[in-house]
Symmetry: C2
Subunit: 222 residues, 2 copies
Amino acid sequence: MTIVNNRGKRFRVPDATIKRLPLYLDKLILLQQAGVQEVSSRQLATSLDIKASQLRHDFHYFGGFSKPGRPYLVDKLVPALREIIGIDEPVPIVIAGAGHLGNALANYRNFERQGFPLLGVFDVDADLVGREIRGVTIRPMSELADFIRERGIRLGVLTVPLDVAQIVADDMIAAGVTGLWNFTPTEIKAPDHVIVRNERLAVGLMCLSFKTKRIGMPEEMR
Amino acid sequence: MTIVNNRGKRFRVPDATIKRLPLYLDKLILLQQAGVQEVSSRQLATSLDIKASQLRHDFHYFGGFSKPGRPYLVDKLVPALREIIGIDEPVPIVIAGAGHLGNALANYRNFERQGFPLLGVFDVDADLVGREIRGVTIRPMSELADFIRERGIRLGVLTVPLDVAQIVADDMIAAGVTGLWNFTPTEIKAPDHVIVRNERLAVGLMCLSFKTKRIGMPEEMR
DNA sequence: TAGATTGTTAATCGATTAACAATC
DNA sequence: TAGATTGTTAATCGATTAACAATC
């Protein structure tokens, strides 16, 4: 992903760096709440179990946030990271599919806390339509596209059954969504200007299985 | 992660390779169901949007699954991958915490299908205890450790509230669990022989936010 | 000033891709 | 045999870590 930092230089920010930004922000918010004013790259990195040079290297993509010799100011870094991640203003989301997973995600308060208020939940099931989840009414799937269009929503969560995943995705994309969080175990086809993030839950269990099988055994059997 | 392949050579298998194994298996099962007997590295790789040489390189860690000149046999590859991942036999799991997320995961049929039958769900809430989720009764959290010990369960899913996460984790580890799938936004401390996989859901949304903010803009503004 | 700490480049490490001999 | 395709090593690419001048 190519960006221009605050000094006008152009960089390709690695995915690995992007993934660390939320971790930095999380820790910094905790420090802020604890009343901490300054933090060095070493302190912050150590608490996240990474190298200080990696943290500084990551920050360097965005032009850096301090001056040589001075540690980072927590109160400056938090809003700066929010702005870089794109959550300086609330980023509303919708959930398509109010099954078990959709329901669980709709109930997950952390998303709202982190800047992603849930504006709508949609399902085809007439029995579910009309019910409320944390104050959000489940609406018929047929209203999804108009809802997205009218409110200019950019991020959609896909928790529908496998066989309608692509159809619902197409619907959301046509309505203006540019980011899709796909929880169905299927590859979603999307145009280049749309970012699809696949969350394959079962992969997590398989990686655990692979590793636990091989740890704790005598070295020769691994 | 160091392993010994089927020819006695010792390797460190990269995490990136481990993560791809479930994807290979998934595609191969689909091919198997479609009655396909043979598949080349190119065919399989193309369908997964990766390079054929990467697939062969991945397979090479495990000694390879064919001979030069011959494509892979789907019916040989599927059980071989299952065995490598560690799901040639069912790997039972328990879920600690029957809140929204624990409930959703307990209802996720894919885990069972992929070889991870759910044996128990546990919660402290007396109102939840006794209820059934897909035939599995919710039990009191106080029974968790004994349950794990008696049935020799190796994998535990952690969907309890933040403030008790470490306590419940310690409990499971003491009872014999060697793999923890942590859905709480906290770093779990565990001994070396225990693998902890952190599933930080909000990170997914933040990565989407970061990228969608910068795509579709005129090049100069990214 | 002396110690601390950043920004930034260079060195290292690891993962991906290419190339090709072996062989079916 | 000729074309296809693997296993395997070498080349390339990218990410992490180290080093250090600048400077507070």
